[in-house]
């Protein structure tokens, strides 16, 4: 009895999960399964203009629905993925691409992290060199009190 009840509950839950998922993506009359996969793959790489952190595939915003329909129409017209991306970029700028292209406007975005890494490496290098100079006169293995200008082991300098 209990088991049967549990089964019913589980099935009901699963059914609901299916419903909530289906709401975001309405069924479209795809020509074949390959086209459906291509559509899903493409819309997952595109960003909804209305809701910054959602892909066109996931978003339930009206504009995302319209753009999904438009992408579907363009696919039926035989447009390639690149052509569809260009179509959207011409209207909504690079913003719609989750993978931003490399160009002067995005140099900071692409190389900024490297710049910060280099700056960090520079600081570390300078610190090590300084430490090496200071430490060369003394034996670091001896059990002495740490000097004031040396980083302490307990890390309370940082």
């Amino acid at each position: 009895m209990m088991r049967a009840l549990l089964h019913v509950l589980l099935v009901a839950l699963l059914a609901f999960a299916g419903v909530t998922h289906a709401q975001a993506i309405e069924p479209m009359p795809f020509a074949d399964h390959a086209q459906e996969l291509r559509f899903q793959h493409l819309t997952q790489q595109l960003r909804c203009p209305m809701c910054q952190n959602e892909t066109l595939a996931d978003s339930n915003a009206p504009i995302a629905r319209d753009l999904r329909n438009q992408i579907f129409q363009l696919m039926q017209q035989g447009k390639s993925d690149d052509e569809i991306k260009r179509y959207l970029v011409a209207r909504y700028s690079d913003y719609v691409l989750y993978d931003p292209p490399l160009k002067p406007g995005t140099w900071l975005l692409w190389f900024g992290p490297l710049l910060i890494l280099c700056a960090g490496a520079g600081v570390v290098l300078v610190a090590i060199r300084k430490r090496g100079r200071d430490g060369s006169a003394t034996d670091t293995t001896s059990d002495r009190m740490p000097l004031d200008n040396e980083p302490a082991d307990n890390g309370d300098d940082w």
Binding site: M50, I63, R91, Y92, S93, N149, P151, D157, W158
Partner: protein, 181 residues
């Protein structure tokens, strides 16, 4: 010097985060810069809201600059923008074209009857397909289009008296200066 280093690092972070707060308070992080700025507006043919059998095209509106204002009855911020359009619209010196976006005509008409109609021309895009060509992704949005059909200025979000005075009016003034000589 070593003792000061954490403090300097902390102050650098304070400056960085302070800049972020300052920047975001002056810029709408949701606004997408339109790639259509200073490019010809997309061609369109849309029915009039009040006479759906008649259409208005881009060619019909050429010759004089106009402000294309995207609005909808479902759009909350449009209600906030509306009094500004009512008050400032007649003083702008350009035609005000209302672009009713993804709206049932009945709702749009009721909304305009309630809030007033500041528009000289009213067109309706119920399916919202033409709006995609304009790069519209919400409402309200406003486009200033010159006599040659080129988009010269775009504002995303409601037009406020501040935006009208500091951005829209100077943009319109620049257009009339071009038309003078």
């Amino acid at each position: 010097m070593n003792r000061l280093l954490p403090f300097v690092g902390f102050m650098l972070l304070v400056v960085l985060f302070g800049f972020g707060i300052w920047w975001n308070s002056r810029h709408d992080p949701n606004a997408i810069p339109t790639p259509l700025l200073n490019k010809p507006a997309p061609a369109f043919v849309l029915p009039k809201l009040y006479e759906p059998t008649q259409t208005v095209s881009k060619a019909d509106l050429l010759g004089k600059p106009y402000l294309l204002n995207v609005f909808a009855s479902w759009c909350v911020e449009c209600g906030a923008e509306h009094p500004v359009l009512e008050a400032e619209g007649p003083t702008l010196g350009v035609q005000l074209v209302g672009y009713n976006y993804k709206d049932a005509p009945v709702d749009a008409k009721r909304w305009l009857a309630e809030h007033g109609n500041p528009y000289n021309v009213l067109i309706a895009d119920e399916p919202g397909n033409t709006a995609i060509d304009f790069g519209v992704y919400g409402a309200p949005e406003s486009f200033l289009i010159d006599a040659h059909g080129v988009i010269r200025y775009k504002h995303i979000g409601p037009l406020t008296p501040d935006v009208v005075a500091s951005e829209l009016k100077p943009a319109i003034a620049a257009l009339s200066r071009e038309a003078q000589p």
